[in-house]
């Protein structure tokens, strides 16, 4: 019963994602996109992952607000034409690199243990070490901030890169020579 519910919800989310890509009206496309996000929130609630739920919920709300603002200020109809040369070349390059990635991924996956064979091979080590060595009660945060702290560091660097990029594109003053033109 539980798995059937999750599968039905995943199909619902997939349909909403396809609708978000195919719709011509941009506002309804954003609505479909937020259906994808909030559907994922409900799936995460049923999978008992409160950490992911809170992050997903807040990011989804912020994305919705800023996308609606952007669409209000610019255009409301999707006018891009598919299958021109400018669209085909990046898509084909993406497919090429995806195939290379899949080949190397399959090559690297052979050393992993068989699927579902030792059920808690990695997580049992984490559970033992968190209580014995680190002493944090919330195991998920202990993994994110200690065993995988490098991951978190890269997340922070990504946010910093994001606002440096936004500041570069939307800066008020250009260079001194370019301003006089």
């Amino acid at each position: 019963m539980f798995e059937i519910f999750i599968i039905l919800f995943s199909i619902f989310v997939l349909i909403a994602a396809i609708a978000a890509v195919e719709m011509k009206d941009l506002l309804s496309s954003i609505m479909a996109l937020s259906v994808v996000g909030f559907g994922l929130v409900i799936i995460f609630i049923f999978l008992a992952a409160p950490e992911v739920v809170s992050a997903q919920l807040v990011i989804e709300i912020l994305c919705f607000v800023s996308l609606v603002v952007v669409v209000n200020k610019t255009s409301k109809v999707d006018e891009t034409k598919l299958y021109s040369m400018r669209e085909i070349s990046p898509v084909s390059a993406g497919l090429f690199f995806a195939i290379i990635f899949i080949i190397f991924g399959l090559w690297g996956i052979q050393d992993l243990p068989k699927f579902g064979e030792p059920v808690m091979k990695v997580s049992s080590v984490y559970i033992q070490k968190v209580i014995a060595e680190i002493g944090a009660k919330n195991i998920v945060t202990a993994i994110l901030m200690d065993f995988r702290a490098f991951n978190t560091l890269i997340e922070v660097v990504l946010i910093i890169t994001l606002f440096v990029g936004v500041a570069t594109i939307l800066r008020k003053r250009g260079r001194k020579n370019a301003e006089s033109d």
């Binding site: 992050a55 002493g135 009660k137 200690d146 997340e155 922070v156 946010i159 994001l162 606002f163 936004v166």
Partner: protein, 156 residues
Amino acid sequence: MPRVIKILTNYVIGPIITFGVYVFVFGHLLPGEGFDGGMIVASIFILCIIVYGKEEMEKRISIGNAVFISVFSGILIIIMGFVGILGLRFEHKYYLDNFLSQGTFSHLFSGGTVPIFNILVGLSITFGFYAIFAYLSEYKTVDKINNGLDYTDFKK
């Protein structure tokens, strides 16, 4: 913005900032971590930008200070990673290793460097998203019909 929304925002600011800071300070004991708490505090800052306008908000927190706090807490995480290489507590010497004592279990001061990383990540995410939205709200379209896409300043 209508006056009703301003008054409602006044009531909401305090509890939500307290809740967000609570999420990332107690991240090692309760669900949620630095990223989630930082996003909650950032969302209330963004609400303030939308309701009161960017100029009112910049009197309280200027963009320069926000960028400084965000980058500085990122740099502090990198420096703490280099302290972890020294191997003060364990045999192994990793980058970003835990070098403080673990404290009493399920108390606020426990978990070694985990709560410190939580607070630093929370500050970085909060002021980073605030800076992004403040930069984005600096520009708006004026006279869309006449000039097409003409981006001009708020101040001019």
